[in-house]
Symmetry: C2
Subunit: 324 residues, 2 copies
């Protein structure tokens, strides 16, 4: 089944989640409502809610309960985007003005705080302390990941392991717990929810590696913005770390990165990108992404052969596919 | 009993909370640890933990359980200070460099996020979903209060009611739930926890009104920084709102506030302060603070006459006392 067909099939339940998302940020305060709804309207693939719903199929599927984890997970993701935009000084996201450019950094900071709080407060509608615990712990880890990313800006000495640990916190964990909490909210047993956690974790890792590759190998049309925005802001991603291991590329690339770092405004990243592309960095990162997909598929083994399992397999293949 | 004696009496339990506070922010990540510990070392009166412990005396007092709400409440207060300092552009707090001046705004933003997450995750150690719900809802309300404060900067048309609603969210709510959650964590009945909530709410309102008065009527030595910092950043507090009702003062004060608003850097607030002091604003605000203290004391009626009740009465009187 194609991914679009899957969305079509799940449309009814996803719409309900969408309505709940809107409701969740629209009942409190005019400015926050405007800032959050604005963000909500910018859309997104709602991949976390999709994973919650599919994982819920491995237990007693009840939309009311699943909503109470799907909405918080998507909200936490949205809050991280708002705070990211403060850090990245981003003016637009998905073609819409960001909260920080439409209002200012202070509003963006409190919008993020508000959405975090709202997310956790919605989850507490479920009388399941385990779910609250998993969610708030993930929030802590995500913050650590975000801080690490700032600290590691322009750090050309970082290891692959270091990068992987960072994206684990920054991205993979929230995807992992989307699957885990979907299963738990549906009352699935611990073995099932653990398998789904591992599936989500590995899909999340692949997703971030693919996203980092896209920023260096995609066209402006594919990315939606000029390539190289990661390296421009100092975010040293996997293909760069691997390219720096290539003796022919290392010295000139270090020089380019140093030059990007020293420039204000919008430094040209063309030469850096072409150096990276001339190395083996992309292929090696690609291989690693494929390994994570294998692990994701492996994690599903032993789960009952229901339609949702096939859907999760399709999603893994879709996320794992080269998109440039 | 004097307040110092009360702290002396509670020293053992407060020390354990202090250790837990330190532990809570020191096990994750070097930079966050440094930023948070730095904040922790700046100290504070730990009034929220004190109220948790005293409220816990109205139930089955068990420090282990009370710690799991006292630490999150103090952490949420700390996180709000970190994010406040971003907004206020504050370089120091309680004589120490702020997180945002020692590192930068981005680190301050994520330190606040991290501490929020950590707070909620510690509270989830108690298997009591009600407590999680109350805590996360308070976080949402606090964010709204903070946003309102930004939106209301230099708004000289606000009503007293509007001001009271804002400080309710910004300050009083967290004090109120400190009492409520202390009681709930100790298994006290709902009537007791509701009474304590009302006590805390009214003490919190008084505290904020007193704090706002101090900033206008205190000396630099009493405040720890030059007076008038609220009005300098555009925060229109109760005495100002009331002074603006005074026909002799209104026009020149509006002019002064306009002039403060138009200046960069560190505008002189001397004339504005002397205008406010020449009005009835201070006395009227004072009266309102006293009314809240009366309500706080009234809320305690019907609670058993244990030592903790007497301590709460003392705290109310202390908070209600003129401090300038």
């Amino acid at each position: 089944m194609k991914l679009l067909d899957l969305y079509a099939k799940m449309k009814g339940d996803l719409n309900q989640i969408e309505q709940e998302l809107e409701r969740s940020v629209s009942d409190d305060h005019a400015l926050l409502r405007e800032a959050s709804t604005h963000l909500l309207k910018a859309g997104g693939k709602r991949i976390r809610p999709v994973l919650v719903l599919l994982s819920g199929k491995f237990g007693d599927y009840r939309l009311e309960r699943l909503k109470s984890v799907a909405v918080p997970l998507e909200l936490i993701h949205m809050a991280s985007l708002v705070h990211d935009d403060v850090i990245d000084d981003a003016e637009t996201r998905r073609g819409q003005l960001t909260v920080k450019s439409k209002w200012d950094n202070r509003i963006a900071m409190y919008t993020g705080d508000y959405i975090h709080g709202k997310a956790l407060s919605i989850a507490t509608q479920l009388p399941n302390p385990d779910i609250h615990r998993i969610l708030s712990k993930a929030l802590v880890q995500m913050c650590i990941g975000e801080m690490e990313q700032i600290r590691d800006f322009f750090n050309t000495d970082q290891s692959v392991r270091h990068y992987l640990l960072r994206i684990r916190r920054k991205t993979a964990l929230l995807v992992a717990i989307s699957c885990q909490l979907g299963a738990l909210a549906a009352g699935a047993d611990r073995e099932t929810s653990n398998k789904l956690y591992r599936y989500g974790y590995n899909v999340g890792m692949t997703f971030q590696i693919r996203d980092d590759l896209l920023d260096l190998y995609g066209t402006e049309k594919q990315i939606g913005k000029p390539p190289g925005s990661d390296i421009r802001q100092g975010n040293i991603t996997l293909p760069v770390i691997l390219a720096l291991r290539d003796e022919r590329v290392r010295e000139p690339l270090l020089k380019e990165i140093g030059s990007i770092r020293s420039q204000d405004g919008f430094p040209d990243t063309k030469r850096a990108i072409s150096l990276i592309r001339s190395s083996e960095g992309g292929n090696l990162a690609d291989e690693l992404a494929n390994q994570y997909i294998k692990k994701a598929l492996h994690a599903l083994e032993g789960l009952p052969d229901i339609a949702a399992k096939k859907n999760l397999v399709d999603i893994a293949h879709f996320v794992g596919k080269r998109n440039y």
